[in-house]
């Protein structure tokens, strides 16, 4: 079949872990749009969901850091964080090892992709799943793009990764959904936590929704760090989704800075 759904959303741990601290009106509007994304995802009747994430030292460390890695397990466990801290109970999420393997084999023609048969989900995947597959009944295939420990993959390569992912998915019989998850500007877990550069975020989203490849990959990491913080490096996940939906544009369902969540909270879908 093909890719039947594509979108992006935020994953900050505060979204669930500090839910009671946000302005209820803005929080509930955000949650409602995440739920609309869930409904659209379900309406696409996917057999599997690929989550392109930017994990935060849950599985990958600087002793052996892949630029790109895809899970190839029958199931995954998460969250790795304290359940009360994150506000999400630990659970087992089904995978699809056979589909993972076929996608990885296809992608290796284009991208030197690492694989992992063992993977514990952190908030970077669990927060999106909490809203998008709340019953944890849809097989998930995790992808990690290293956005934490430089040197990082160049943005042009992240776009290429998305293209390669699309080619690989299109060659499979399953109906596949793809969700990218990352922050835009944010300074998570630093003294600047809570700062959000809304102007920068909106310009990035404009480029993303227009799927303007040249504009998307024109940021340098130094500029991103200056204007969008180290959390801004996670734009790689959005850019991968743009690559997977090349030639198509997106629809912004929600964007609002929510400082206690430490990120400009975003929900968007891309045409496939």
């Amino acid at each position: 079949m093909s890719v039947v759904f594509a979108g992006v959303c935020s994953h900050a741990p505060g979204i669930t872990g500090r839910a009671d601290r946000a302005d209820p009106a803005v929080r509930d509007a955000f949650y409602a749009k995440l739920d609309e994304m869930r409904q659209r995802l379900e309406a696409s009747r996917p057999d599997a969901l690929i989550v392109v994430a930017a994990e935060h030292f849950a599985n990958f460390f600087m002793n052996n850091m892949p630029a790109y890695c895809m899970g190839m397990a029958e199931s995954y466990e998460g969250p790795i964080e304290d359940e009360k801290w994150l506000g999400i109970e630990r659970t087992r999420v089904p995978g699809n090892a056979g589909l993972s393997r076929r996608i990885i084999e296809a992608m290796l023609h284009d991208i030197d992709l690492a694989y992992a048969e063992e993977w514990k989900f952190d908030h970077g995947i669990m927060v999106p799943l909490h809203f998008l597959t709340p019953r944890y009944d849809l097989p998930v295939i995790p992808v990690n793009i290293n956005c934490q420990g430089p040197p990082l993959t160049p943005l042009a390569r992240a776009y290429e990764f998305g293209r390669a992912l699309r080619r690989a998915c299109d060659a499979q019989p399953e109906r596949i959904a793809i969700v990218g998850t990352g922050g835009i500007s944010h300074w998570p877990a630093t003294p600047n936590s809570g700062v959000i550069n809304e102007e920068w975020d909106r310009e990035f989203l404009r480029r993303f929704l227009a799927n303007d490849r040249e504009a998307l990959i024109s940021y340098t990491d130094a500029e991103t760090f200056r204007d969008a913080g180290q959390g801004g490096f996670e734009i790689r996940t959005f850019i991968a989704i743009a690559g997977a939906t090349e030639g198509k544009t997106g629809e912004l369902l929600f964007y609002a800075p929510i400082p206690i969540f430490a990120v400009g909270c975003t929900v968007a879908t891309m045409a496939v």
Binding site: F57, K120, A189, P191, S193, V195, F225, P259
Partner: protein
């Protein structure tokens, strides 16, 4: 400076209950497996979040150690700021380039917005 090993220990502490158990029950033995300076070792043992931040520990690793120590979110943020006031600018890693952004928002220690 062996920021790599400081972060490696905290990374393993965050993700592995067996390492957490050894950290509680047989700390010296556990720490002997990492190449740490005395200052680094003391900062870890004392739970000195401010100094660990100044040493350059990534916040995505450090915030979980803070949570393990029982700090609230605002206490964690304040500990990092206090670390910079006490020990000076961040010495290594990504945050050496971090500028103190103008805070349009900052919760107080009681969590009021």
């Amino acid at each position: 400076m062996s920021l790599y090993y400081v972060q490696k220990l905290l990374y393993q502490l965050n993700r592995d209950p067996a390492v957490r158990r050894r950290f509680q029950e047989d700390r010296d033995d556990l720490l002997s497996e990492y190449q740490l300076t005395d200052e680094e070792r003391d900062a870890i043992v004392e739970g000195n979040i401010g100094l660990l931040y100044v040493m350059g520990v990534n916040g995505q690793i450090l915030m979980h150690y803070s949570a393990l120590l029982g700090q609230k979110w605002e206490e964690y943020l304040e500990a990092m700021r206090e670390g910079v006031r006490k020990y000076g600018p961040v010495r290594a890693g990504l945050y050496t380039l971090l500028e103190d952004r103008e805070q349009t928002w900052r919760p107080d220690l009681h969590g009021n917005r």
